[in-house]
Symmetry: C2
Subunit: 447 residues, 2 copies
């Protein structure tokens, strides 16, 4: 297989992405705290030759835990367990730059890259949920701009830490007794507004050099950050036109940063509802939507756009005029997505809630395997995506259906690999392995 | 097997505990960054029915990396990978209360306990290496007393977080749509000098309720802390008398805290050198000692007690009169251990360095399998230990020899299990599973 091909991740959410997934008869909520459930999913994704499994995260508990499987298992420990249970598939975990210490997080991600022999990815988030602040001694969640400023500095620090051991720093010469060449292990001596970190890291450089950097924001700050740092972006789009514009924008910005735009993959989220006919697929979607609980969705909508609708208002047009001025948070990707969706499609509140219930604003597609493959191919060929983050509405069947029914079509069309050609996530994504910045400096100084 | 029996952990250090282990012909330094090495060790320990594998840690790089495999792999990611590769053995990882955020660490340890189905242990350290401060934005390492004050508050916070979901908080009733009973999920609302943490944790209660608490300090602060919090203590002793006195002291202090002394296991470190004759065992020890590099050991000694000896002075008596006044750090366990060892045994500097080279102050024993088993039995039966942290001088052979030669003797004497009787680390250690403090409060309020 030559030429440009698709990249696919399995985005694992405990019961599935639909908020009512756990109530669906074919889901397995009794297994969502057991490792075997995640191993089964990761192995199924690996058997389908997916690039990676992906786990979201946030360091606080959502209020909607009463209605759905919205707890969090810490991603880096879970992915490390999956590393030992799989051979090839990439392992992308979310962690917050706002609520982590860079030295600690750098070590954990280095650990994941070592135990997986080069399959670690980091989904970089600044954390949207304001409640997290109270778990970290802060009275208030930092502003969107402050979070992104800290994120930029955080990336400077952890990138230098991952580079602090040059690739050949470990010598291991039993005869001379030299284990490491300390001239190739570097302090980073970072001093900045948010962090002072001396380094070096206490772990030799990892198989990938650094984990793959993933990012999902679509705000102005988020796009600028992605252009500087991201190897892959996982965006949420509701329409082809929007996705195509975003795709072009990401590539333009990456080029403006002096980067090769082909080294910033755009992988939108998509939640597929499959059926042997389109009607059957739509019936599946309806069945899941009918299991939703208005109290849950009303609360979600309130948190996203500040509008509290009553159950009596659910079948009336969504009251756009009541969308609160969220000030700083109006910059957030999800706020704009929901507001724009309600505005563009003139949805009732119930319709809007169902759209969010499916995948919290990501694209839903209900159809036959051929129809879903067609959409994937169209977005891929027409400059809207380099691949997709697959968000099954329920698990595990919602994923195994995709793997068994859609993936073979994509393979038959020459769009997706039949076998892995590399062993690291960077290789799956077609990304170069970065050299240590310190090696580069040392070499240029010695020229 | 009834009655009191031994507990054994395998303390894994990358190349082995002897500082020159990596230079020894039968060690495998080329494998120390590869998961398969640790999986092999953990499975060997599980096959020998050990209670746990144990990993040390510190968030900085030791200067002696030039001479030895003294990097660190982050323990919680590595242990999570081992969780997926083993079935029964406990997994104890070290993490610092001085350089971690309690909400993050509580999540990682909860993650390890979930993925291992109840096999997580936490070795609680306040971090002795002053260099760590510079990786976390501090100009100076906090004092011993301040570190222990923070550690106490840290334990209050994480214990409450692990208790914040009662055991039956997850309802998962598909029909009513109630996933969790939020009246059984609690904010912790902690406000103290070092931390303000609202909670609840965002993860349901783990199989063990809380990870097993392990601690290793022998300073006054360390003993007081252990009496309050520890389920097991991993102490370093150089003599039976010292170990026996420590054992009695720990139990007395635990009782004074209102705890059952049998629920605080005392597990000293021991580094066994095995041979078919005592002479062969001592030859092995000598062979490893002769691979040491004075520059490494002199530096270690300088860091521990502040005395910088020259190579010319190595065969003279260790200059006790030059032991510096370390002020605050004189409180540290390791400082006192080294000073007392030099004083009691009137060692030359080279002899002292060799004693430290073996296992950094832990007990070395060189002998036949019967002799090592005799020592183990004596300490166990005569009130000096509930078991041991086994610190093989080199790996993997230094451990497999112990497993194959010493363990069967201990089993034949009825001192050690032949099969696991439980599935969690608490069960291996004979410790009760703690109830959630919030459940207890709710039940007492409703009485």
């Amino acid at each position: 297989m030559t030429g440009r091909t698709l990249h696919l991740n399995l985005f694992v959410y405990p019961g599935g992405h639909h908020e009512a997934a756990w109530r669906y008869h074919a889901s397995a909520p009794e297994r969502v705290l057991d490792l075997s459930y995640y191993v089964e999913l990761a192995r199924a994704a690996e058997a389908a030759r997916f690039d990676a499994v992906f786990l979201a995260d946030g360091p606080s508990l959502a209020d909607d835990i009463a209605y759905a499987t919205r707890f969090r298992l810490e991603p880096l420990t879970l992915l490390s367990a999956l590393a030992a249970s799989t051979e090839r598939i990439g392992l992308v975990g979310t962690a917050s730059t706002t609520y982590s210490e860079p030295y600690n997080l750098a070590r954990q991600l280095a650990g994941l890259d070592h135990v997986s022999r080069g399959r670690a990815g980091w989904n970089i988030v600044t954390t949207g949920a304001p409640g997290a602040a109270h778990n970290f001694g802060l009275d208030a969640h930092p502003t969107h701009a402050d979070r992104y400023a800290r994120a930029d500095e955080f990336l400077d620090v952890v990138t230098a830490l991952w580079d602090s051991w040059e690739d050949d720093a470990v010598v291991g010469d039993r005869t001379t007794g030299q284990y490491a060449d300390t001239s190739r292990i570097h302090r980073i001596d970072h001093v900045g507004p948010s962090f002072s970190v001396r380094g070096p890291l206490n772990t030799p450089r990892t198989p990938q050099g650094r984990p793959v950097y993933v990012q999902a924001g679509t705000s102005e700050d988020g796009r600028a950050f992605a252009a500087r740092w991201a190897d892959a972006v996982f965006a949420a789009h509701q329409s082809f036109d929007e996705a195509q514009a975003y795709y072009a924008d990401v590539r333009r910005r990456a080029a403006a940063e002096g980067r090769d735009p082909d080294h910033v993959l755009v992988l939108p989220g998509i939640s597929p509802y499959l059926g042997s006919t389109e009607a059957e697929a739509k019936a599946l979607q309806r069945e899941l939507d009918e299991l939703t609980q208005p109290a849950y969705s009303i609360d979600l909508l309130h948190r996203l756009v500040g509008v509290l609708v009553t159950e009596a208002e659910l079948d009336e047009p969504f009251p756009l005029e009541r969308v609160a001025d969220r000030g700083d948070e109006a910059e957030s990707s999800r706020f704009r997505l929901v507001r724009d969706l309600a505005e563009r499609e003139r949805l009732t509140s119930r319709q809007l809630l169902h759209r969010l219930a499916g995948a919290r604003g990501h694209l839903l597609v209900a159809g036959t395997p051929e129809q879903v493959a067609d959409l994937v191919e169209t977005w891929f060929r027409r400059g809207a995506a380099d691949g997709f983050n697959i968000m099954p509405p329920y698990l595990t069947g919602g994923f195994t259906d995709f793997a068994e029914q859609v993936v073979p079509i994509l393979q038959a069309r020459g769009l997706f690999r039949r076998e892995y050609t590399g062993t690291t996530l960077r290789e799956h994504y077609g990304l170069p392995r970065p050299a240590s910045q310190f090696a580069a400096r040392r070499l240029s100084a010695s020229r």
